[in-house]
Subunit: 217 residues, 2 copies
């Protein structure tokens, strides 16, 4: 991609699909620990988790984490496993996004992507979760001519979930996943990347329940 900064000095920049932060690859994560000492528990967990390769920004509603997809998957797996290891009942909400950096308006309108990234292997954690998952291929700029097909893409992601052994069925608006935390996170990240091979802007939302007292089986 060639960018012209002024009329007489054209500058060749790197392809934005090669740089995860320029391509807007990241997550927002909300960890809710249902215990009186939630603040100390969350701080302890966050302190344990390796953030190598990632940019972080903590807020009062969620924490933003930006970086490459494999680093994000490692971080999310480690974080959710660390929350589960506290034994507390907890809910973790994750929003994944790629292909739409910037705020309000995408700084990379349709045509800069897609970005292809390898699907990272799962790391088994030994702890289980039940999760509800939604995956959204988005049409940011209809003029770019690439039109996502929500149903086609969802079916490909569900096939991946079946291969990973995490698919447990579909409910209103979401797909239910169950299994080792590592396999569930790998399914969510893998499905997001799979759809991202043909669509520039793809987001995904997953809510994971940990140590649920009402969980059966």
């Amino acid at each position: 991609v060639t960018q012209t900064s002024s009329s007489d000095s054209p500058i060749t920049t790197t392809d934005p699909t090669e740089d995860p932060l320029r391509f807007g690859v990241g997550a927002r994560v909300t960890v809710a620990v249902m215990r009186d000492d939630y603040a100390a528990t969350i701080l302890r967990v966050l302190d344990e988790v390796d953030t190598t390769g990632l940019a972080l920004e903590t807020g009062d509603v969620s924490t933003w984490v930006g970086g490459g997809e494999a680093d994000l998957q490692r971080y999310l797996t480690d974080l959710v496993a660390a929350v589960a290891a506290t034994g507390a009942h907890a809910s973790v909400s994750v929003l994944l996004s790629r292909g739409c950096p910037g705020e309000v308006v995408c700084e990379l309108p349709g045509g800069a992507g897609p970005r292809t990234a390898p699907i990272p292997p799962a790391r088994a954690t030994g702890a289980r979760t039940a999760a509800e998952w939604a995956l959204y291929p988005l049409a940011d700029d209809v003029r770019a001519g690439v039109v996502p097909d929500h149903m086609r893409d969802i079916e490909a992601a569900i096939a991946l979930a079946r291969d990973n052994g995490t698919f447990r069925g579909s409910a209103h608006f979401v797909t239910r996943l169950e299994g080792d935390i590592g396999d569930v996170i790998a399914t969510v990240v893998g499905g997001w990347l799979l759809v991202g091979r043909t669509v520039q802007h793809v987001t995904s939302h997953v809510t994971l329940s940990l140590n649920s007292p009402t969980r059966v089986g």
Copy 2:
């Protein structure tokens, strides 16, 4: 809409856009109360909230609520206000969806909608929240010829948030809303309905933080 149940007995059914449940209008809600007595607190809150006009199905990750948009807005406002009134720090995650009933594959492929619904007025609750909001117009069936434009629709929803006085800025992947719980919920539901006037399948995700100890101002 005319549906033919067999080759020789055509049956005229009602328009699916007129029936909220047939059009897949609903929400999934996860309430996380960060206190040892979270279970009793959540049960008490759920017991207080008026569910008139709505279908509910409780799960271990979230509760599904289906029904008309005004009933959903009333339910969400009452529910979040009741959680806030407990004084506990809590996080409420809401997924709104319309235009894609069924599971895995939409039972109303592109062409059945859109459905137009009036934007319900806010009910002031006297309690405040900070929230992060995402809104997704989706392309389910490219053959239907209606192609959503994510950026156009997001900008219209943000204009609504500014009108409602709840817009506080944009961050990675989300819009930050703050204000009375009733105004924030009305913004989220209103933006979803606004986009739903031209796009059949629209989802929205919002995470609301209540009684946050780290909240400034």
